[in-house]
Homo-oligomer: 348 residues x 2
Amino acid sequence: MPQAKTSRVRIQDVAALSGLSICTVSRALRQLPNVSAQAKARVGDAVAQLGYKASSAASRLAGGNTGSVAIIAPTATAWFFARAVEAAEEVFADSGYDTVLISLRNRPSVQQKLFGDLAGLAQRVDGVLLLNIGLSEPEMAALAGSGLALASVGMHGVPWDNVGIDNAEAARAATNHLLALGHRDVAILAGSETGAPSLVTANERRRGFEQAMAGHGLAVDPDLVLDAGSSIEGGRRAMAELAENRKMPSAIFAGCDETAFGALMAMREFGLSAPENVSIIGIDDHQMSWFLGLTTMAQPVADQGAFAANLLIERLHRSGLPNPPPASPPSNHLLDTKLVERTSTRRR
Amino acid sequence: MPQAKTSRVRIQDVAALSGLSICTVSRALRQLPNVSAQAKARVGDAVAQLGYKASSAASRLAGGNTGSVAIIAPTATAWFFARAVEAAEEVFADSGYDTVLISLRNRPSVQQKLFGDLAGLAQRVDGVLLLNIGLSEPEMAALAGSGLALASVGMHGVPWDNVGIDNAEAARAATNHLLALGHRDVAILAGSETGAPSLVTANERRRGFEQAMAGHGLAVDPDLVLDAGSSIEGGRRAMAELAENRKMPSAIFAGCDETAFGALMAMREFGLSAPENVSIIGIDDHQMSWFLGLTTMAQPVADQGAFAANLLIERLHRSGLPNPPPASPPSNHLLDTKLVERTSTRRR
DNA sequence: AGGTCGATTGTAAGCGCTTACAAATTTGGC
DNA sequence: GCCAAATTTGTAAGCGCTTACAATCGACCT
């Protein structure tokens, strides 16, 4: 059992016990080259015996690493982000990093403030994991030049490692599912373009929808194209609009499950239901979707978070080396989505 | 605009610009006494002009504060915790603190490891906010003696500030609602005792239920008392047990909304529905509850997180002073719950 | 006017670690 | 076997901040 109380175990104590100099211990601890196997072993023993752990503050101050990384999310409450954050946190914790959570709370002012002092952030963490953050060009450049290790989930065209899904493909598959069931009047309830170059998820999903329709020689009816954002409320409003002022489609492709929830809710208010009156499919496989019987394209959320976290850790380790090898080019990984058929869709 | 790049603005630069010594600047910065108003003003100007921000690492190393606090949650994905975390994070961010997220991932081993090195934690953060953590006596003592500022949400009998709701009262009110609607055969689907002295939420809710029943001169039917944990799956299993092996009650009190969701799900599988066959009420007012028409006792989750965070910040500020005033005794704040009537309950 | 006390400010010694750079040790080639 | 090169280890100077403790500076008494 590591002793705890009595002041602090310092690197000097390890040095004394192992009969080596502080410097050698420091190097051994950080796996730097030019340390004999014997020295490494001695240091290892001493560390175990003393229960030594380096002071992150001291280490940071002296030019080393902070031992923590930040996760930046648009909000921490949404299902997607909560899951991704937890998965990433697990990876970070297992690698010995503290996770600093920064929620933008969907507020541009918070984001502005954060990017206004990136240097400050860089001082407190070694790396940053971005979750679906819409970045302006200057922000992207500032990040890339901040010296921070970077990785992201669900972003595009960014100069760092990214993990996501093929949104167009998922939308195409979802729409094709509807089409294969014989539906022809298909509505789309999805988000609209955000403008941020790094975040085009909604756009890609729209495109996938259009491609699938075109692939079946079908025209997209403008009356059946609604902007529903990606919230429950948005889905509800869009569905109400459809029922009240437009026309009822035979099936609906919802940009994400939460939008579909809202649509289902609105349906109920109009005395409609799925799949009796309309079929509906979403994207996500939200925790509640199986409960509501929503057919959806499942995306691996925790996997995306964990994968991106691992990529970040790798970069961190590489840049921790004395002669940082030439940085490998940013990679972009697309994880698979999968159709999960439930009861909200049926043959026309 | 604060300049950023060119190396770092150090306290020494501020001292030079303001014509004071480093030491005085340091004191002025931390609002310590014995600094003339003039000096304070000069320092203020210089700081603004230079865009100075203290290095948390250096400050920490020298014996100051880390400028960050940890939030420890059983899991980050559950609705309750995600919301509480975000609310707390906002308070911390606004107070200039970084938020380190630590999820126990519902795994005892993670908790053990964390408490095995509290000294390490104490080195990286100034305070800790605990969210519904079940603590053993030794763990509680270790925390209390760690020197960390502490606050919690939903814990009981702890020697630090706590914020929560009156669980017994909420359960009583929920049950009384059912009783007032004329129901007499009321089942309870709730969690069971966890054993951890700091966490007795489920127990208190059971007690409230029993009190309400007794208040109406009703005996609790053992056949209608089920352990459902606090998960969707638990609620589903409990409801299935009720339908298959026990008897159908006229109404159900679910210990939390997620349990109620599971029960509703199971009902559907058995061709039942609420409120047609049984009325059902939960506690929480989960995001999806309005969607499902679940009547529930709403509890202010974000408020609890924010409130507790503020209490922590206060302690932090007080303990930051040179002659820490005698610590005020731990306070316990109970926030109000409110009945939200929806469609899942009706007169018998 | 000399002396004292309290308020303010300055000096300097670290906090625990990293990192040039120098010293010591080993390896290898001829 | 002897010297240069390579490898391993040690020395010492900070990193930017806090904090005793010492030094100043007035105001206030006698």
